[in-house]
Every structure is written in C-alpha cells, then in structure tokens.
C-alpha cells in the first residue's frame, strides 16, 4: 500500500532530521504543494466511489499524523537548540555595581514636602511668608510685649531699615489670619533667624513649619488630634504625644509638645537623653489678642497654633548630629540625599 509505505518512509526521515532546516525540508517533501501526501491525494479520483471514502479517511489520518509529528519534532529540536545555547552562554557577573545618575534634594526639601502633603491631606492650605519682616508682624502682631527680651539686639537680627530677619514663622500669622478672616486651616513653612552663636546644636538660620487652625469651637483635644495624626503619619506608626506647660506670648494656654522617642519607643536612649520623649513643637491655643490684632472676633472664633522645630525633625529623621551641616553646602553630605518623593 502506497499509504503505508509513505508513512514508514516519513517516520524514518523525520527521525533523521537533525535540525530545524532539515525538518522543514521533510515538511515540504510530504506536506508541500507538490509533496508526497498531495501526490497521494491526486490518486483518489482513480478509485471507485465506495473506496474513495475509505482512502480519503486514510490520507487525512496520515496528514494529521505527519503534521503532529513535525510539530513535536520541531518543539523537541527548538528545546535542544536553546539548551545548546545556554551551555555556551557567557556568565555575567550579575553582582557588579551600577551607578544611578542622580542629583540630590536638600534633606529639608524632602521632609518638608512629606509633612506638607500630610497636612494638605488633612485639609490644610500651604501658605508662604517672608524672611524679612516688619517689627509689627514679627513681634507686635503676635503679642510679644514691647520690652520683651526677644526684641533685643542679642536675640534678633535687626536690619538697617528697622525691619528684622523673622525670628519665627509666627510672623506670618497676622497676614494669614487677615487673608481668611475666619475659619482656616493653614501651614506655613519658613526660614527663621536668631542672633546667636552657631555650634553643633545651634544655628542662626533654621526652618520651622507653623500651623494655624481657626474655627468657632476648637479645643486642646483638637490640637492633640492633629499633632498626633501628623507625627503618626510621618513616622508610619502610632506615636504618643504629651503636652507640658510652655509659655509663648502668642498662645494661651501654651504647651511644649513632646513625642514619644521614635528610636527607643519611650524606653529611654541617647537621642531622647534617656527621658523617653523628644521635645518637638511649641504650640497652644491662639491668644485672643493675636486674633483681635488681625481683626478677628475672639469671642466668636478661637484656634490653635503650633511651630514645628523642623530642623530638629530633619536631624532626627536622618540621624544627623550637627545642625550646621544643613546650611553648609557641603556636597559630600548633600549628595547622599538622592531624589525621593
């Protein structure tokens, strides 16, 4: 039988195909337009009607068998090919270092953006202030008495035109209170200046982030809420805070806010001087005089204010022990702060 013969012939030839091109030759020889199977097919017209059906089925079976076998062999050869390639593959030292070209952001910028985003998420606006301020905005408007020592030359950088380099972000309070003239939630980061000698823990130029919230009914409990939320969000864990009495002319009552030390979880360590707490933020309920001076009815409205010691937070966050590094422009230090938002 022709069919049986073709089948046997194919089987031996396909076994002998050593690579994909030989296999393709076999495919063309049997399945091509002028291939053996097509050729066999042409004999169908010579057969009797009843034989035609059987013959047709046999040819189709042969064709399927050949197609399957070729596909199988193809997969087998491809697999062998890849294995051969892998054997000759050159090994790369995948542990070699790569250098990522990147500039750096100042560590303050990185953390400031993070904190701003947290407050924006809680509905606070972000405002801007000046660095050179009037005596009125810096002192009078925030209820600092006329003869207060903070106004002395030893503490404040006075300028030749009787303005000052702002000593606290609170200098922007009056302007912001006037801008909203009622309920508001705002933070205003800024650079502040104090006329003092510089050492590893004191700077004459430093950053604060101040916040203000004014509404009809605001309590100490609300202040605790926002400070706790902000710190917990920043440190990505629940942070305990505590308030202690503190005196600042622009708030009444005034507090020092401590956060439980994030390094030792309050057990006491070198960073928190073994107290378990970090002093982070003077804050308090806005002094009615500050509201009055901004034209706000202090009987109707009240609020809280806080002044986050931002540079201290930066130092804590990055384990920095010398505040002078921040303004130094020392690129060996700064280049470590690769872009991150």
């Amino acid at each position: 039988m022709e069919i049986e013969k073709t089948k046997n012939q194919f089987e031996s030839e396909v076994e002998n195909a050593k690579d994909l091109s030989q296999l393709d030759n076999v495919r063309v020889k049997y399945l091509g337009k002028k291939g053996l199977v097509t050729d066999l097919m042409s004999h169908i017209k010579e057969l009797a009607i009843e034989e035609k059906k059987i013959f047709g089925q046999k040819i189709n079976a042969l064709k399927n068998m050949i197609e399957n076998k070729i596909e199988q062999t193809k997969q087998k050869l491809e697999k062998e090919n890849i294995e051969k390639k892998l054997k000759s593959e050159k090994k790369i030292d995948i542990t070699l270092p790569v250098s990522i070209e990147s500039g750096s952001l100042h560590p303050r910028t990185i953390l400031q953006k993070e904190i701003e985003d947290i407050f924006v998420g809680m509905g606070f606006t972000v405002e801007d202030g000046y660095e050179v301020e009037t005596e009125y905005n810096n002192f009078d408007a925030v209820n600092v008495p006329k003869n207060h020592p903070a106004r002395d030359m030893q503490d404040t950088f006075w300028l030749s035109n009787n303005q000052v380099l702002k000593t606290q972000t609170s200098a922007a309070q009056n302007r912001i209170l006037r801008k909203y003239n009622g309920p508001l939630k705002a933070i205003f980061p800024g650079r502040c200046f104090r006329n003092e000698a510089v050492d590893h823990s004191h700077e004459n130029t430093f950053f604060q982030i101040e916040g203000l919230l004014v509404d009809e009914e605001v309590s100490v409990g609300n202040l605790i809420f926002f400070m706790k939320k902000m710190l917990s969000e920043l440190f990505k864990k629940d942070i305990n805070i505590r308030l202690r009495p503190g005196f600042f002319p622009f708030v009444e009552p005034g507090f020092e806010m401590d956060a439980q030390c994030t390094f030792c979880e309050g057990k006491g360590c070198q960073v928190c001087k073994h107290s378990g707490w970090l002093e982070l933020c003077p804050c308090g309920m806005i002094h009615p005089q500050v509201l009055k001076l901004a034209g706000i009815d202090s009987e109707k409205y009240c609020g809280f204010a806080f002044g986050l010691g931002f540079d201290r937070l930066v130092m804590l966050q990055y384990g920095l022990d010398d505040i002078r590094m921040l303004n130094s422009g020392n690129l060996r230090f700064l280049k470590q702060f690769k872009t991150k938002f």
């Binding site: 990147s102 500039g103 750096s104 952001l105 100042h106 910028t109 953006k113 924006v120 509905g123 606070f124 606006t125 972000v126 801007d128 660095e131 050179v132 003869n147 020592p149 950088f157 006075w158 300028l159 030749s160 035109n161 009787n162 303005q163 380099l165 309920p183 650079r191 200046f193 006329n195 003092e196 000698a197 510089v198 004459n204 130029t205 509404d215 605001v218 309590s219 100490v220 409990g221 609300n222 605790i224 809420f225 926002f226 505590r242 308030l243 202690r244 009495p245 005196f247 009444e252 009552p253 507090f255 020092e256 309920m285 002094h287 303004n327 422009g329 690129l331 060996r332 700064l334 872009t339």
Partner: protein, 789 residues
C-alpha cells in the same frame, strides 16, 4: 533652679506619694525638669565624735595624731586639718563608712595607722567650708549619725529656668510647694513669721524713692547680732540648691530668696544712714560685693544713702563699702520690688546677671516685700534670740500691681479644653492656686492672687491653662474636628518651587543646596564679585556678615569654592530669598530667586552654557508654561561680557545667565569652567505664558527633507530662525537644526536643517516636493544664505 524636696515638704505634706510620681506630675503640670539629684547617698555611717587628744605626728609637720571618742571608745585617727583641738566635736567617718562615695578603710599615714577620718563640711558635701574639719557647736549625742541631726538625705530637682520665665511665683520654694499642693490636693502650710506690729511706734527709717523704677521699698533695722556662722541645716539647704554659704546674714537673705523668691539685701546699719532710690548720676562707678568695679549708665537704678553715696545697684548687687562684715552687729534689711525692664536693661548693660536680677526681670509680686522681712526676722530670731528691732518696719509702696477680675463660665472652659468639668473641681483647683472665687450657677468671677497677677494671669484664657494643666493634659482625649470641607490650596509659587527642584535634581542631576541669606562682602571683594546689598545688619557678631544678599549666585559661587577640591564637576542650585531693593515705604523688596552654578573641569564653557539654557527652558516649558527669551547684554557684572545674556519674559527682565567672568574664574580656580544662572523665581512663575495649541495631525504621509546651508559666521541661529519662520509655503512644514559642520580649512560652516513637509488633505507628489525645495532654496538665497554646493 534647684529645688529641695525636703524644703517643699516643710510646706506641703506629700507623704505616701512616690517620688517618681511627684516629679512626673510636676513636669506635666508646671515646668520642665532637667535633672533629679539624690543627695546624701554618698555619705553613709558618718557620726559625731569628740577629739580627746591631739599629738603631733613624728614624721609630718602638717599631720596630727588624734584620739576621737565615738561614744563608746577612743579611736586613733591621723588628721591633716589645722583646726584640731581637744574637746572639739566633729564629724567622724569610721572604718566601713562612706564619704563622697568612697568607702573608708584602715590606712597608714606617714607611718602611723589611722582608723577612720575626720571630715570637713565640704568633704561631706553639706557646706562650703574646707579650711578644716567640722567644728560642731550644737548639743549632739556622740556616736549618733549626722543624718539624725542634719537633713543630709534629700532629693533635688533641677528645673529649667526657661520654663519659668512667665512665672515669677515659682522662683522660690514656697511657690513650687503651692504647685505640688494643687497637683496633689494637699494643703499648703502658712509661712511662719516674726510679728513686727508691736514695733510700729519705733522710728521709721528714712526711705525715699525718687524714680518709678522702684515699685516698693521695705526695710527694717535690727541690732545685737553676734552670730556669724549659719547653722548646719541652713548651710545644707543653700549648698544643695546651688549657693555658697558665706555668713549668717548673707545666708539668711539668700535663704529667703530661695524660699519666697524675694531678693533681699542686708546692709551694715552703721555704714548706711537712710535710703534713696534713684537713677545713677553720670559715669558712676560702683564697687560691688565681689570687689568688681561696674560703670553704670544714666538709666541704671541705684540705692544711695542719705549722703548720696551709692550703696547698691538696685535689684542686682550690693556695694562693698556698705556690706556686712565680721564686725557687723546691727543691720538694715532691704526687701524691695523693682521694675523688671529697668533691672533687665541695667543687668545687660553692665553684663552682670545675678540671682536677684533674674528674679526681678520676671515681674516679682510687690506684695511679698514685707512678708519676706518678717520671715527673715523669724529665722534670725530663732538663731539669735537676743536680736533687737531698732526701727519700725518702714514701707514705701509707690506702685501697686493692677488687680483684675476675670469672668468666665464652665461651658467656656469645657469647649476650650475639650473635656467635661464640674464646678467644684474648677473651684478646688483655683482655690489651691490662691484665687479668690465667686460662683453663681456656672458663672465664675475670680481674682488672681498678687503673685500671679503681675504678668501671668489677666484673661479668661489664662484660667483655661490653670484648669487644664491641673486637670492633666494627658487626661484630655484626642478629638477630630469637623469644619467646612473645601479644596485646599497651595501657594502657587511654593508649589512650583518643589516641581522645579524635582526636575533639576532628578532630570538634570543637580544638587540642591541651602545657603545663608548673608551677602559675603569679604568673599565677593576678594574674588571680584560685584553684588549689591540693600539692607545691613545692625549686629554682626554672630553672623560675621554685614548685610543681606540681593543675589544667590555669589553665595553659590562661594559654595562652589568650598567644594571645589573634592569634585571635578559641581552642579548646584538653590531657590531662596534675596532682598533686591528697598521700596518707597523703606521696606525690603524680597524675592524668591533661582540660581544655578555649573562648574566643570571636563565640560566646555559652551556645553555648560547650553546645559543651563536647557534646564531653564525645560522648567519654563514643563513646569511653568512660561515663554522666555534671551537678550545679549554686555554689562552683567560678574558674567563674561561676551558670552552672557539677560533672561526676559514679555517686556520684563527676569535674570541673567552666562559664563562666569574670566577674571573671577581665574581667581576662584582656573581649572574649572563655570556657568551661572540667576533668575527672579517669583517673576518667572508669573511670566508671559507660552502659546500652545494642538497641531492637526495629517492622515497623509510626511516627507522628510534635509537642506544643507552655507551660513556666514556673522549670522546667529536666531536670525536664521526668523528667516525660516517667515518662509511662506502652501504646504505645512516644520523644521529643526540637525547638524552644524565646520569646514575649518575653508573657514566655512554648514548647517543642516531637517524639514518635515506634509499636507492635511492629500498625499504629496514629487512635483510638490520639488516645488517646495526650489522655493525654499531661492528664498534663502535672496536672503544671502546659499545651499551647499
């Protein structure tokens, strides 16, 4: 300030309360505690003993061999103190006792065995005398522990003075005791005093107050004081709270200051006749107790006697000539109150801060002066029962404190604090704190006590603090706040600042720096950088600088200079403030500025310049949507006059950009090429907007054509750009400069422009393309630009 808990417990019974709890509650309710010191732990087993024999030491001139009787037996001790004598009772540390943390053991001194040690007060840490061993005059039991007689064991808390600036009442133990009494709801005991009422008919002292800087001056005179040494308990109190004991009268005045917060002064009554308080005369110099000369200015307040001789700098320091001495037996006791600002200014002027002056600066309670005198007399009388009062208690009270009444209700306190309160709770706290209170329903009317009224408490918000801190801040629950919900806004320029920083640091690999606001005059002068400063600093001691910068670039050049030895390439920027002038109201004009400095030992000036240009245009395009142009300008002080330009938007000059002036580069470091950009960031953010609209995209094929023009050296790209932009074609086209080839041999340059041409409604034919080419070629030729042959 150091606070002795023994002293506090004299005024408030704190039995049954753990010391850690005492300290924690005080910290949360009153003031910051810096340290807790446990006194007396380093002294154990020291007893009273009597010296029964004194013999000289065979091998030493200084040492003596003593026998001391400890109540049971005689013990041999070798002692180096000069004041040993038979019959003297002293402090004896036998073997196995502890002094100053050291265990006492048997020792051989210069060959003689010693079974213990006789101690001085100083060695025991209970007094300042270190001239000899203790010479105890009190009637004590030999062999008894010193601790049975003297309050050697004590806990001292150190309070941060800064947390007491607004609390004049806390500058003495009695005020602190009142806080403890309120915190723990324990009764505050009254101060026991010496009644002076019966001496009111004696002659009054002659006191005149000639200046309003003195609010009140109270005094009394006393005689028959023969004791000069303070009793041991008094010395211990002073020693533990950071003072040196000097002599009885000085010690008592110091004691009173530490107890009530009232500074006092004792004059030798023989040396001071009458008191006049007045401003200092011109160029007055004063010799103070320590023997220092102080030159006083005219606004300093001084105490003079009736002959106008200055006897003290008011509220700061007594004078040497009128001071008590060993021969003093009669004294004039001063207890006064002065204006805080006046004292603070004088203290700052003469550079003398004393325990008295720091208290007066806080606005002391003027009601306290006479009480302090009566208290001191009580202590003095206990020690010196023969003392005799020789004048009436004389009191000149010039200026009363302003008594005010504060009204509030319970609901107000509740809202502000955020907790439910009961009326009797509020009342209880305020009563403990010394307020006078009237309650009608929920309405409170209170009068703060004098010691809180001078500075600290005047409005109802002050009451919020009193109630909240005593209620305990840690008992206030955290509470969210529901206000109106509205979109938050971020200051426009502030937001753009971040985005600009982000692109410069991440896309262009620049390093952000923060520099100071100073104008570095010396640096600028040394390196020939000319940058004006419009505001100067009145005090330059701490910054070392004289003025405020008007530009950032010079500061960045300084930073480049400080970093240049560590890097071959430095690319830094800052967005910061500068004062660019003074406005008509004499206020500084403050601007946010962006400055970039690129310095490289590897890259060419041209590369650096174009990096700057690219960064700026990228920021303008992707962040700000602002159109900027560049105009040549040869007078950009620190920039190279040939290769620099002004940056403009619309008709406004925003800044400048260019290669650093070669003169400056050569001084800074000639290995580097440096390019500098400085732009007003506020103006840049608000510059003229770019015109941007979407282009229609053709459905038909776009044809790309290259044209290679021979461009004369005299032409700039900007000129060619204008030419090309004015070329009129029916077809749509856009172009870009793809290559510049410089043929040095023939001194020619060829610029290749790549054109994309297309039509919105059909496919271009070769005829269209040929037509375009010849039209462009002839147009350029008409304008003096030929195609490359």
């Amino acid at each position: 300030m150091y606070i002795s808990l023994n002293w506090i417990k004299e005024y408030v019974n704190l039995d049954g309360i753990d010391e850690d709890e005492l300290i924690k509650r005080f910290l949360l309710s009153t003031a910051e505690i810096e340290d807790v010191i446990y006194k007396g732990q380093d002294v154990q087993g020291v007893i009273f003993a009597k010296i029964t024999s004194v013999e000289s030491h065979p091998n030493s001139q200084k040492l003596h061999i003593l026998n001391v009787f400890d109540g049971k037996e005689n013990v041999q001790v070798v002692c180096g103190a000069p004041n040993v004598r038979v019959g003297m009772i002293t402090a004896f540390a036998p073997i196995k006792s502890t002094v100053g943390g050291h265990k006492i053991s048997k020792a051989k001194l210069a060959g003689v065995e010693s079974f213990g040690m006789c101690c001085s007060e100083n060695e025991l840490g209970i007094g300042s005398d270190d001239n000899g061993i203790m010479d105890i005059k009190e009637d004590v039991k030999l062999g008894a522990s010193l601790k049975e007689y003297y309050p050697i064991d004590d806990t001292i808390i150190e309070i941060d003075n800064k947390s007491l600036t607004n609390r004049p009442d806390l500058w003495g133990h009695y005020g602190i005791a009142r806080e403890f009494s309120t915190i723990f709801k324990r009764k505050l005991k009254p101060i026991s005093v010496f009644e002076t009422e019966k001496y009111k008919n004696l002659n009054k002292l002659n006191i005149k107050i000639e200046d309003e800087g003195c609010l009140r001056y109270s005094a009394i005179s006393v005689k028959n004081i023969f004791s000069h040494n303070s009793p041991q308990w008094l010395k211990i109190r002073l020693c533990y709270t950071g003072m040196r004991d000097i002599n009885l009268l000085a010690d008592l005045t110091n004691y009173l200051m530490l107890e009530l917060g009232q500074p006092m002064h004792a004059f030798d009554n023989e040396k001071v006749k009458g008191i006049v308080v007045k401003k200092a005369s011109d160029n007055l110099t004063m010799l103070t107790l320590e023997g220092e000369q102080h030159k006083l200015s005219k606004d300093a307040l001084v105490i003079c006697d009736s002959q106008e001789n200055p006897v003290a700098i008011a509220g700061i320091k007594g004078g040497l000539l009128s001071s008590i001495s060993e021969n003093t037996t009669s004294l004039l006791l001063e207890s006064a109150c002065f204006d805080p600002t006046c004292i603070r200014k004088t203290s700052a002027n003469i550079g003398l801060k004393t325990d008295a002056s720091i208290r007066y600066e806080k606005s002391l309670d003027p009601e306290m002066t006479t009480l302090a005198i009566k208290r001191l007399l009580k202590l003095l009388n206990d020690i010196e029962p023969n003392m005799e009062i020789t004048s009436a208690l004389t009191d000149v009270y010039k200026k009363q404190y302003s008594k005010n009444t504060i009204k509030f209700n319970r609901q107000f306190l509740q809202k502000r604090i955020g907790v439910e309160l009961e009326n009797n709770k509020i009342e209880e706290i305020l009563k403990y704190l010394g307020f006078e209170i009237t309650i009608k329903g929920d309405e409170f009317t209170v009068i703060p006590p004098s010691f809180r009224a001078t500075k600290d408490i005047s409005i109802k918000e002050d009451i919020v603090e009193e109630i909240a801190r005593m209620y305990g801040y840690d008992n206030i629950p955290s509470m969210s706040l529901l206000g109106e919900i509205k979109p938050t806004s971020i200051d426009y320029v502030h937001d753009k600042e971040y985005k600009t920083k982000f692109i410069l640091s991440q896309k262009y690999n620049l390093n952000e720096v923060h520099s100071y606001i100073w104008n570095y005059k010396d640096f600028n002068e040394e390196y020939g950088i000319n940058s004006p400063s419009y505001l100067s600093l009145l005090d330059t001691t701490n910054s070392g600088q004289s003025g405020i910068r008007s530009e950032l670039a010079p500061t960045l050049l300084k930073m480049f200079f400080e970093n240049k030895n560590n890097f071959n390439n430095i690319s830094i920027y800052e967005i910061g403030r500068a004062i660019i002038g003074i406005d008509e109201n004499n206020l500084g004009i403050e601007k946010r500025k962006l400055a970039i400095v690129l310095a490289s030992q590897e890259k060419s000036k041209k590369d650096l310049y174009f990096s700057l240009k690219k960064m700026l245009l990228d920021v303008c395009q992707t962040i700000l949507n602002v159109k900027v142009d560049f105009v040549e300008n040869k007078s950009q002080n620190y920039l190279n006059p040939i290769n620099s330009c002004e940056i403009i938007s619309g008709n406004k000059i925003l800044g400048k950009m260019g290669i650093l002036h070669p003169m400056i580069t050569s001084k800074l470091d000639k290995r580097f090429n440096v390019a500098v950009l400085e732009v007003d960031f506020d103006m840049l953010c608000n510059g003229e907007n770019l015109e941007s609209k979407l282009e229609k995209i053709t459905k038909y094929q776009t044809v790309s054509l290259d044209f290679n023009f021979n461009v004369p050296h005299s032409k700039s790209y900007a000129e060619i750009e204008i030419l090309l932009n004015n070329f009129n074609s029916k077809l749509k086209c856009n172009y870009s400069l793809s290559d510049i080839y410089i043929d040095e041999k023939n001194d020619k340059q060829y610029w290749t422009f790549n054109f994309n041409i297309y039509s919105l409604d059909r496919t271009l034919t070769s005829e269209d393309i040929d037509k375009f080419s010849s039209k462009l070629t002839s147009y350029m030729s008409e304008n003096g630009i030929e195609l490359k042959k």
